[in-house]
Amino acid sequence: MTPSRLLTHGMLLVGVLLFFLPVWLVFAASTQDASALSRGEISILPRLEGFGIYWQVLTGTGAGAQQGAVWRMLGVSFAMALAIAGGKLVVSVLAAYAVAFFRFPLRLVCFWVIFLTLMLPVEVRIMPTFELVADFGLIDSFGGLVLPLVASATATLLYRQTFLLLPDELVEAARMDGAGPLRFLRDMALPLSATNTAALFVILFVYGWNQYLWPLIAVTDTNLQTIMVGIVRMIGTEGQTYWNRVMATAMLALVPPVLVVLVMQRWFVKGLAEGST
């Protein structure tokens, strides 16, 4: 190996460790004794007898379990992320199909209204959104948790781009076979944009799973508490923090989206990089 290639590999390995090592430490710390952690004694090796903390955290038992069972938070986060991703995909694919494949009155107005909201994050309009959802009586409900996060333009724009690239011959052939627009959507447009859908699913699932501010405000009922809100409450400000519980919960919050990204990596990277061009 030449020195420059060695340097390249060295830098990449440093980069890999920059992410792996801290997360490994979170894992190791989760298995260690809470009082030892508070004294600043972290061992880089996990403690085998400390693995029980995952059971305690999941079931909400043991010392420092004020925030309740984490399995419930995982369930809420999972349902929320799925509902946001699924809802956005369905709403967006229909809208994009209409805008790309039809000419109807106010089509451009619809497109620009959707487009203008691009990346106007829920954080910016947090107070008025809260008032609105409160007026609907949807605070502390699953619908209130999900609906304000379902509206977004990114997926619509991505689908529209894919649809614009479908060859005209395909549409003409389908028409000659007597296929209507809905049939074409089901048999042609959807299957042909499968990569797009897979990539968007990853992006939107991670987006939904990682939400913090809106679930914090929209929900006071602990039965609807997401895992992100749970972690921040466990860290707390006053009194004793059970760092092993915090770290175990952080690991549990990290694993599902990482798995989704790793399993669907190929489509995800392709869709993300292509979508923005």
Binding site: G15, V16, F19, L25, G40, V91, V124, T277
Partner: protein
């Protein structure tokens, strides 16, 4: 905007198809945005019994408040630092990952998974690294003679939230930089190599200009990320403290609106943020246009 040549006939079906999206947008984007604008022009009395129109008074108060002006500068500094660190690191790693042959898939996977790290999880990670009592790196810092306690020291608190926010974002930038690098024809780089251009020269004269559109696009994404999505990170690490040392504009909207229930001031801040984001989106659209022209 580009259009399809072949389309289907009819207008009832497409209106039906586009309706859910437009309805959601109208209810959850346009209406709250309009409400925010309205509330920013009103002020309630001390008892919350009546509101009256006050014109731009809330905005005048806002921009006359030295705390708000300080928060604007603080947010700009924070966004700049986070974008610079995460994009710089990502570009360096992408250049390396693009150059290697052996271990390519490993490096790529090992640098892509952090995309899934949540802002709150990133905060937990960095607490474990740098908490004054618990932190893994804290003893080493103390041995170096640094009195590390971000709960007391403004600059340290800012450094901590910048690190935790930038760390989480490297992966996103890495994916885009790597994709952009891989789209550059190898023949171009090879030709420069044969002309005797060294790696630094090749980067500055060939790669960097070709990466400029991606860089511009990522810059706007990173600014939006640091301005809004880092709320969870900062809330979990410092809650905006000590004092106001890490209070970004987003934290301030939350604190004034949700915690202190000062709706007029909070709405005026929301409107300012919306205007800022709109500007950023416009910039991003411009960048996407340019990027498409080049690619």
């Amino acid at each position: 905007m580009s259009e399809r040549r072949t389309v289907f006939a009819g207008s009832a079906l497409p209106v039906l198809l586009v309706a859910p999206q437009v309805l959601l947008t109208a209810v959850f984007f346009l209406w709250p945005a309009a409400r925010a604008v309205q509330a920013s022009l009103e002020r309630g009395d001390a008892f919350g019994l009546s509101v009256r129109f006050v014109g731009l008074a809330n905005f005048a108060d806002l921009f006359a408040d030295p705390l708000y002006i300080a928060a604007i500068w603080r947010t700009l500094f924070f966004c700049g630092a986070v974008s610079l660190i995460s994009m710089g690191t990502a570009l360096l790693l992408a250049l390396c990952a693009d150059a290697v042959v052996r271990g390519r898939v490993f490096y790529r996977t090992a640098l892509i998974w952090p995309y899934a790290v949540a802002p709150v999880v990133s905060a937990a990670v960095w607490l474990l690294m740098l908490h004054p009592q618990v932190g893994w790196l804290t003893p080493a810092l103390e041995r170096l003679g640094i009195a590390w306690n971000y709960r007391l020291d403004d600059a340290q608190a800012m450094l901590l939230v910048i690190l935790a926010s930038a760390w989480k974002q490297v992966s996103y930038n890495f994916i885009f930089f790597l994709a952009a690098l891989q789209a550059i024809p190898t023949s171009l780089v090879e030709a420069a190599r044969m002309d005797g251009a060294g790696p630094v020269r090749r980067f500055l004269t060939i790669l960097f200009p070709l990466l400029a559109p991606t860089t511009g696009f990522l810059l706007s994404v990173n600014i939006a990320y640091s301005a809004f999505e880092t709320f969870g990170t900062i809330e979990a690490l410092t809650r905006g403290g000590p004092g106001q040392a890490t209070e970004t504009l987003m934290m301030k909207v939350y604190r004034d609106g949700v915690v202190n229930l000062d709706l007029g001031a909070s709405s005026a801040q929301s409107v300012v943020l919306m205007a800022g984001t709109m500007g950023l989106v416009a910039l991003q659209v411009l960048m996407m246009r340019r990027r498409r022209d080049v690619a």
